[in-house]
């Protein structure tokens, strides 16, 4: 029934429950992280065993029914693409947790929160990449947004953390909702909830009228998650999170979820011109926007944030360019563009290695010097030689220099854009030439900020007076994780085809299944292609980049030309402020603070909806023929009830009102006795007793009942509403009594003795037949009780301290 794959997804969630206990028991003796470390390590090892099978082109599917009535099953599906993401999530997760053990102090930080959120994220992310059902995928998708929110706001006492957390949450959840709408449309078109089934019926999809809306909505989801322009603004603010989190969520894994989605959906949408232009266009704009903005940053983490945006744009645009391959079907043309998909997946892995490494090193710099401001740093090369080496590896890989893995994927990126510029479909001949130019300019800027990262931090003069502490190299434990990633950067450069064979090719087959069947793709990555255009483009990047870096001071001023008020951030802030004031304005119209106003809303609503519906559907009809005759005793009871009700209206004191209402309730219970419903009568009696006691207690707090002086108009409205409610309820009750729309269900319960072993039907309905109703009722009751208790007893801040002390 369940499979190891399902269990793997839920292990992080289950372990998250135990983390607070471990933390409570063992802090400060042992760092909680050591226990958490085992989880991603085990998952990584487990996923690793799939490698040989996956590289042979096998896929795995496991099904666990979740809501079978709605055909929502928790199907896990593993192919090359999900395996790559899974390995990244667990592999980098292991390294990040190892790093965090040394980064976060076990004495000062709330480690339990940190690891619980981190594990929730890890589980959600694994669920996201391994689930085949779109709604299950959506649930995990939003869970990653929420855990990211919690992790950004980890230091919640800082205002900027809260701001960044809120921003990321608003933007990514908005995107997630758009994606949900897209998913629903997609399931309407294809009549299935499974991604694989969608792919297999995707042939005649593009003619459907919902095809384009579904595509756009899905892309909004992917773009918000992967910080594509113009939704990218949340990522720089998310850097308020602790650095291990920035390395893990905001560069290696969570932001790759959007890319994963685009790759996953490529077989469905790829080949359409809209998909091609939207994905590659937005990707290219993001690539340029991110790299240009990264150069102006003075905070190292902000610089890395913008560079992440730009690199994500690069991967996204490659996926877009590669989707052209599906247009051509199968053939040589097709495999030319398919290389772009290959490059995208290759760069996705590369980016995770070098960016993860860089983030960790920046965290080390921050940890050791106390600042991430480039203007205050400098000359750290001799003080932190290992960190320096790692930064060089990471930055040069990012800039696309040999002998680092970034060089390989950058060359492939250039190949892809050059191929597209000569493409003849999708109107690419008009705009095609612009694509390599944009890519090249963005690469120049990428080179510049990579150099800034290395040389402004580590070369130049040491400025100890600005740091106020003695700087030395970080402990080995902290360096371990970036060292692993840094060595991967170099290993991948020298042995790219191993990676390609085992991981990237199966992943590409998942993105382009039709091409995989023909077996035409022969991919061999090599560093040297001869003297081709790509190589000259790289030379150009290095030459112009070096020049621009040296003369940075001269042209830096152009950044100030751009007015502050027109940035995306100020638009976001303005929207937020306006939205708040608008909703406040609207809310204040009807939330007056008077209970009587709220009661007026409720009662007029009842009159309109219930009365209106009954009137509209001709529901008012009476049939007194079956009614039993009323005897003297019942008539007497009725009279007594009317008298008590009127007494409430005219009573001068509250005590009289309470007694009258109580009497009314007791009289009702008499009716239950008369009609032989002892259970109801008993319940009514006891409830009435308890509520009267409750009233008397509340009575203590209320002011004296005064003669109310109010305008006749006000009273008239109240009178109309109260009479209206009375009339509607009475009419509804009479109509319900006079008509039987459905067969009575009581005959089923008559067998209670055989079915439930109980002679009392009422009670067996409560505890057996409708047990779940009762269970939820007592749950609600309990919540209400806690609510009352909280409202009265718990006063946070500024409350009456004496009361708590008592």
């Amino acid at each position: 029934m369940s499979s190891w794959l399902h269990i793997m997804i839920f292990i992080p969630f289950l372990f998250a429950i135990g983390v607070p206990y471990i933390y409570k028991q063992l802090t400060p003796r042992i760092h909680t992280g050591w226990f958490v470390l085992s989880i991603p390590l085990v998952i990584f090892a487990y996923l690793f065993t799939y490698l040989p099978n996956i590289s042979e082109g096998n896929t795995f599917t496991e099904t666990v029914p979740w809501i079978p009535a709605y055909n929502i099953n928790f199907i896990t599906y593993m192919d090359g693409l999900s395996l790559i993401l899974g390995l990244l999530i667990s592999g980098i997760g292991t390294l990040v947790i190892l790093y965090s053990i040394f980064y976060l102090s076990k004495h000062r930080e709330a480690l339990n929160n940190f690891y619980v959120y981190l594990l929730i994220f890890m589980g959600a992310m694994l669920g996201l990449v391994f689930s085949d059902n779109i709604f299950v995928l959506y649930v995990f998708w939003e869970t990653t947004s929420i855990s990211s929110f919690l992790l950004i706001a980890y230091w919640y006492e800082r205002e900027k953390s809260r701001y960044g957390a809120q921003k990321s949450m608003l933007i990514t959840i908005f995107g997630g909702l758009a994606m949900l709408a897209g998913f629903i449309m997609l399931s309407m078109i294809t009549d299935t909830y499974s991604i694989r089934e969608m792919i297999s019926n995707s042939a005649d999809l593009s003619t459907h009228s919902l095809f384009i809306p579904a595509m756009i909505l899905l892309l909004i989801g992917a773009f918000t998650k992967s910080a594509q322009f113009p939704f990218s603004i949340w990522l720089p603010d998310a850097m308020e999170a602790p650095t291990p989190i920035s390395a893990y969520l905001h560069s290696a894994t969570m932001v790759k979820a959007g890319i994963y989605l685009v790759a996953r959906m490529t077989p469905i949408f790829g080949g359409a011109a809209e998909w091609f232009w939207l994905v590659s266009g937005v990707g290219l704009i993001t690539l340029l926007y991110g790299s240009v903005n990264a150069v102006r940053q003075t905070d190292l983490k902000a610089l890395l944030a913008y560079s992440t945006i730009s690199q994500l744009g690069l991967i996204m645009s490659l996926l877009g360019l590669g989707s052209a391959s599906l247009y051509y079907g199968v053939g040589t043309d097709s495999s030319v563009y398919a290389m772009a998909i290959f490059a995208a997946i290759f760069h996705l892995v590369n980016h995770s290695t070098f960016k993860g490494c860089l983030f960790m090193v920046v965290g080390i710099i921050d940890h050791e010097t106390g600042t991430r401001d480039i203007r205050r740093l400098g000359g750290l090369m001799h003080l932190m030689p290992i960190s320096f080496t790692l930064t060089v590896i990471g930055s040069f890989a990012m800039a696309g220099l040999p002998p680092f893995n970034g060089f390989l994927s950058k060359e492939m990126f250039f190949t892809a854009v050059l191929n597209v510029s000569t493409m003849s479909v999708f109107n690419a001949d008009a705009l095609g030439i612009a694509i390599p130019i944009i890519a090249w300019i963005a690469s120049v800027f990428t080179f510049i900020y990579s150099m800034i990262l290395v040389f402004k931090t580590f070369r130049g003069k040491n400025k100890p007076e600005k740091l106020g502490r003695v700087v030395h190299e970080a402990p080995i434990g902290m360096l371990l994780s970036p060292l692993v990633l840094g060595s991967l950067v170099i290993i991948i450069f020298f042995f790219p085809n191993v990676l390609s064979q085992y991981l990237i090719k199966p992943a590409m087959n998942a993105v382009l299944p039709t091409l995989a069947d023909t077996g035409e793709m022969k991919v061999k990555i090599s560093a040297w292609h001869g003297w081709n255009t790509e190589l000259f483009m790289t030379f150009g990047v290095i030459g112009l980049g070096t020049l621009l870096y040296i003369y940075l001071k001269k042209w830096y001023r152009i950044y100030h030309l751009y007015p502050e008020n027109f940035t995306l951030n100020s638009v976001y802030d303005l929207c937020l402020v306006k939205m708040e004031s608008l909703s406040k304005f609207i809310t204040e119209r009807y939330m007056t603070g008077f209970i009587r106003d709220y009661l007026i809303y409720i009662f007029s609503f009842i009159i309109l909806v219930v009365g209106g519906a009954m009137w509209f559907f001709d529901g008012f009809s009476f049939d007194p023929s079956k009614d039993a005759p009323a005897n003297m005793f019942e008539a007497g009871l009725m009279t007594a009830m009317i008298i008590t009700a009127i007494t409430v209206l005219f009573s001068k004191t509250r005590l009289t009102s309470i007694v009258a209402v109580g009497a009314l309730g007791f009289l009702v219970s008499f009716f239950f006795v008369l009609f032989r419903a002892p259970d109801l009568a008993l319940t009514q009696l006891v409830v009435e007793t308890v509520t009267t006691a409750l009233f008397l207690l509340c009575f203590y707090h209320l002011p004296q009942l005064r003669k109310e002086v109010s305008r006749i108009q006000f009273k008239a409205v109240n009178a109309v509403i109260s009479i209206g409610v009375g009339v509607v309820v009475t009419l509804v009750a009479l109509s319900a009594n006079g008509n039987r729309l459905f067969e009575s269900i009581s005959s089923f319960y008559e067998n209670s003795y055989e079915l439930a072993g109980a002679k009392n039907i009422v009670n067996s309905i409560l505890v057996d037949f409708r047990g779940i109703d009762t269970m939820l009722e007592i749950l609600v009751l309990c919540i209400a009780g806690i609510g009352v208790y909280t409202l009265i007893k718990v006063r946070l801040g500024g409350g009456d301290k004496n009361e708590e002390a008592k």
Partner: protein
């Protein structure tokens, strides 16, 4: 607060509370075949407690019955939910109840039903909640 003159109610309560509690337990147990059950039993029990609180000082009663009624309510809900889960463990749908007839040493042939355990949860939840509400409001001066 002036010293209240309440000899009669104090004397009556001392006797009445015992009767009310007995009645509540009787109601609860007879619920399976006759009028009664967890909800009513719980409420009657709660009303007995309320009578004590009204008659004697709140502090006195709290001293003699040192129970946190919030916990009582929570335990009640938990018991009710767990009986449902218990059914799942035995591979029956959530909240399935069962019953059987057993020969017990003193009672002779007796019917035992899992629904009673569920009903205990209901009763505890009702007692706990009503007492929590009433004590919170009554205490707030």
């Amino acid at each position: 607060m002036k010293k209240p003159n309440d000899v009669i109610i104090r004397s009556v309560t001392k006797v009445a509370v015992v009767i009310i509690f007995t009645f509540a337990i009787n109601l609860f147990i007879s619920g399976h075949h006759f009028p009664g059950g967890g909800f009513i039993g719980g409420l009657v029990f709660a009303s007995g407690l309320i009578l004590m609180f009204l008659t004697f000082d709140m502090e006195t009663v709290r001293h003699n019955i040192p129970v946190d009624f919030k916990v009582v309510a929570a335990v009640g809900v938990l018991i009710a939910v767990l009986t449902g889960v218990g059914a799942m463990v035995l591979d029956a749908p959530f909240l399935s109840q069962s019953f059987g007839y057993f020969e017990l040493p003193i009672f002779g042939k007796t019917e035992l039903a899992t629904a009673v355990i569920f009903d205990v949860g209901v009763a505890l939840a009702v007692i706990g909640t009503s007492m929590t509400i009433i004590m919170s409001i009554g205490d707030d001066r």
